[in-house]
Symmetry: C2
Subunit: 225 residues, 2 copies
DNA sequence: GAAGCCCATAAAATCGATTTTAATAATAAC
DNA sequence: GTTATTATTAAAATCGATTTTATGGGCTTC
């Protein structure tokens, strides 16, 4: 007999990715990273080549991104990168303060020892992550994960979902804006302070600090508009 | 000059719909209406026939709905109607209270005379809408529009977006639950009271009433799980 | 000279068919 | 009798081609 079974059962037995999901992840990252200009119209056939994927999975990914708010979809005239505006950034930042402080309060009440451990771990990974341009994606991932961990035990699935969505939107601005080393240093320090306040469950101080943290990031992100 | 000659765009002025957008709207309505059982796996080929649409636009609509949270998407195993649970309903309801009260406060500050007019109009349309089973969709539309109008001037695009999303989620429960005439009557009365408080800008009373309104709806919606 | 019209072109949207994967039934092994 | 393995079937995902719609240029008309 021949070998009609060269088809390895995909070493990962559980979750196999689809082309649509892969290109969704890549496009999402590239949109947040600022690979495309704000307001730019996406040329679908070009994307097809760039991401080495067929038309169907690509369109499905674009549809998901539009529903998520990282693209604008206009019937019969394709997809467009949303414009950046100082007004929208203000909206996003203010709402981040409200929602994240809300989640923080809950997280402080619900968080247990395991949470404290994971928070310390996440902070350490962030601290050690290399922020050089080549490793920037790694740092961004660690940063996102830190903020996720901080609020994770809040108990509200939908609140966390909205916060994540706003975070992605905010990062479009922040990552496009020129860096500010002085502010960046202060922001980095605040992560450690947040952990300390979390361990001590000093909710009011933590809320003030988190608000300050977001407002400082906002100061940086403003540079994008 | 003074030639108010709006360029006639083809035979369909304004926005021509795509098949994907149409089936998205229909599916969204049917999901909220409870046409499919919670937890049910959607048979794509069956939907294709039911909605009289091709595979591509149908899949695009399903992808959008999954990103919106009205469907679950599992790689390589299709789409599924999210299950209903008392815990998630609680999450949704509590968050509605928080977010809508937040928006209400802003709306009371930003709303002008034009807003007051539209609010009165929306309330009257709701009052007059027929709630009979045949006309139920009309009433639901008027109800949604009333709540939209109430919060519209709040100034935060993203807050309104999240509130609408939660409202859709909440309605899945409410519309599946058996009706309660006594509570329904009280809820209907509250719409008028909210308008009155809005006209007088009695923010604190209005916040209490809106919270009470959502909690009462919640009492009804609980009947779905 | 500007506005309207028509055609050519490019892009978006959709269709029909194919490929890939998961779910299920049937069979074999222990 | 149970578990493991293979074959079968059904469904999801993807591809390639076609249809539909928007866009831009050149022409005509007033």
């Amino acid at each position: 007999m021949t070998k009609p079974k060269p088809v390895e059962r995909a070493l990962a037995p559980g979750v196999s990715e689809t082309a649509a999901s892969q290109v969704f992840d890549e496009l999402k990252r590239d949109l947040i990273r600022g690979r495309f200009a704000a307001g730019e119209k996406l040329a679908i056939s070009a994307l097809k080549a760039q991401y080495a994927v067929g038309l169907s999975p690509l369109r499905e990914a674009l549809n998901r991104l539009a529903a998520y708010g990282l693209l604008e979809q206009h019937n019969q005239r394709g997809f467009r990168v949303p414009p950046l505006s100082a007004e929208e950034l203000e909206d996003i930042a203010r709402l981040r303060v409200q929602l994240e402080c809300m989640a923080l309060t809950q997280a402080f009440q619900e968080g247990d020892a395991e949470w404290e451990s994971q928070l310390l771990a996440a902070q350490h990974r962030l601290l050690r992550a290399d922020k050089s341009p080549e490793q920037l994606e790694k740092w961004e991932q660690a940063h996102l994960q830190f903020h996720r961990t901080l609020l994770a035990p809040c108990g509200s699935h939908w609140l966390l979902r909205f916060i994540e969505q706003l975070h992605d939107q905010f990062d479009r601005y922040r990552r496009l804006a020129p860096g500010n080393p002085a502010i960046r240093a202060r922001l980095d320090a605040q992560h450690g302070e947040l952990v300390q306040l979390a361990l001590e469950r000093r909710i009011q101080d933590a809320r003030w600090l988190l608000e300050e943290h977001i407002r400082l990031s906002w100061d940086v992100a403003r540079g994008a508009c």
